[in-house]
Amino acid sequence: MSPVLDVRDVSVRIRVPSGHHVQAVDRVSFSVEPGETLAIVGESGCGKTMLAMAVLGLLPSGGEITNGEVLLDGEDLRTATPSRLRDIRGRTIGTVFQEPMAALDPVLTIGRQIAEVIQRHEGLSKDAARGRVLELMSLVGIPDPASRIDQYPHQFSGGMAQRVVIAMAIACRPRVLLADEPTTALDVTIQAAVLRVIDSLKHQLDMAVVLITHDLGVVADVADRVMVMYAGRVVEEADVLDTFAAPQHQYTRGLMGAIRHPTRTPPRSRLTEIPGMVPTLLAPAQACAFAPRCPLADDRCRAELPLLGPIRDHHAVACFHPGVPA
């Protein structure tokens, strides 16, 4: 099956107020097929959100894609006109952001906000759209849609609000769903419910899902494949089971070690911390970005840039010492 979304060798550069440039994304590639969930994992500042914004064409002013292609069903979004991008957003690519309460306009009813997407892309009248909105609300699991459709965002709890956002994102049956930290702002108990919704919708609508998160628990729960990013670059990419069972990159290992696993983590052991801090992306060295924090780093790592290369079937790493136990 051919991928719906095929991002090839994309780099994103952002100009900061002081006049310098930050390399937010450095030659990243990934692709997603219908019905599969790709999780993009990394800490804050690793470029994953900028990557998503680049795909959508919503980079902040001062940001630009300096390299690569963003192919949506073969069409390069990088060369698309703003008008074409507006047509694609909401209709072919749906987006869910992190803070559901902030993502909703406080002065409009949620019914209006969901209907807006449908009216914009499918030209339906207000009344016709209303029926669709009610259906969508049921689809995402909002109880008693008829009584809630005319309510305002502040009358919704976080989890319910996020369902509204999801409803807006899938309203036009998009091919791709981009979810940027969709559960981070929610209570742990609600997180699972929201992930279920996304997962079930994925199957029902045969969507490709790109799930951006820093939470490996989420990854383990719903992802099919994982892409680990560090300092704007991809450091590892594999099927989810593979990644958890045998992480090849030291950073991935560090991330795994930083969470407790019910069976794998030895009891009463210390959680590993990754020493050091995420580098600023002002002038990325042509060397391994993780070297300063890596126990395996040697001179080659500090002088040469490791490229992403396959280790096994469906498993790629960007490291000169993959899989070496620390």
Binding site: L56, L58, L85, R86, D87, I88, R89, G90, R91, T95, F97, E99, A102, A103, L104, D105, P106, V107, L108, E116, V117, R120, H121, R148, Y152, H154, Q155, F156, S157, M160, V165, M168
Partner: protein, 318 residues
């Protein structure tokens, strides 16, 4: 909504009551015979004694206040020392003129401040933004009366295209009326327009950077839908609130504008009363302004609660 309404109504009434106390103290502090100050009459001993009795001037202060407020509340604000006419009637006759001036000035301020503020926010950082910002800053810093003088200088003295002053009632001659309103409206409306410009720009920048605007863009809405339907709608609430608060500034501004352009309105009445020591009129004017101002604020609060759903229905998350 009704609970909010009742609460605000109660607060407004209390404020109003406190304001009347302030006016009362002010009037009682005026130099001269309080009987004359409050009623405008009583120059002869016999009449004076009657007034002293009516206003309870020989009784303790709180009683005086009660008497005064009971007289005043019926609309009897005394008689103007200068004209001998009832103060209430005089004030009421001047109000329409000032209303016309203030209304047109408000319209001018909106027409000039709103679009510029939006444009500046949407095209932030561009030359248009700096231009709009400068216009706003100058409008804010320029003394109203000087602007009036300069405009008179340019348009009436040098170019001779507009009259320098004077007023013709609208019903008498609409064209002349409006012609003479042009400069005063610009003068009065500029400061307000400048404030509006800055507030709109500031509000819009905030809205445009918000998450819900980002979501709106991610939904593929047109720029117009995003800017007007979402960003502007949210900013308007703050803008309306601020406009309402600045309406009081319109009253102050009208004093100066009417003085320069010799428009016989409420504002000018104030100045005339002061220079002629027409205390009953001063009393009436102070009361009137307080009532009007509190009423306007109350109205603005109601409007705000109508526009802001959170206030309208109280927050109850489900």
């Amino acid at each position: 909504m009704s609970r909010y309404f009742l609460r605000r109504a109660g607060e407004s009434l209390i404020a109003l009551w406190l304001a009347t106390i302030v006016v009362f103290i002010g009037v009682r502090s005026l130099p001269g015979d309080p009987a004359i100050a409050m009623s405008g009459e009583g120059r002869e001993p016999a009449a004076n004694a009657l007034i002293r009795q009516r206003y309870g001037l020989d009784e303790p202060l709180p009683i005086q206040y009660l008497r005064w407020i009971s007289i005043t509340i019926t609309g009897d604000l005394g008689t103007s020392i200068r004209t001998g006419q009832p103060v209430t009637a005089e004030i009421l006759s001047r109000i329409p003129t000032t209303l016309e001036l203030a209304g047109l000035a408000g319209l001018f301020a909106i027409c000039f401040g709103l679009p510029l503020g939006i444009a500046a926010a949407v095209r932030r950082g561009t030359r248009l933004d700096y231009l709009a910002g400068s216009v706003g800053l100058i409008g804010l810093s320029i003394p109203t009366f000087w602007l009036g003088i300069v405009l008179i200088l340019i348009f009436a003295v040098w170019l001779e295209v507009l009259p320098a002053s004077g007023y013709v009632p609208f019903l008498e001659d609409p064209i002349q009326n409006l012609e003479r309103m042009i400069l005063p409206v610009i003068v009065l409306g500029s400061a307000l327009g400048a404030v509006l410009l800055r507030q709109v720009r500031s509000g819009m920048i905030g809205s445009l950077g918000s998450d819900y605007v980002r979501t709106a863009r991610a939904k593929g809405l047109t720029e117009r839908q995003v800017v007007v339907g979402h960003a502007l709608r949210n900013s308007l609430i703050t803008v309306v609130t601020i406009l309402g608060l600045e309406l009081g500034a319109l009253i102050s501004g009208s004093v100066v504008t009417e003085s320069i352009f010799l428009i016989p309105g409420f504002g000018r009445l104030i100045i005339e009363a002061v220079s002629r020591r027409d205390y009953p009129v001063i009393q009436g004017v102070a009361l009137f302004s307080a009532v009007a101002y509190i009423a306007i604020n109350f109205g603005v609060d109601l409007l705000y609660s109508y526009l802001n759903p959170k206030v309208r229905m109280g927050s109850t998350a489900q």
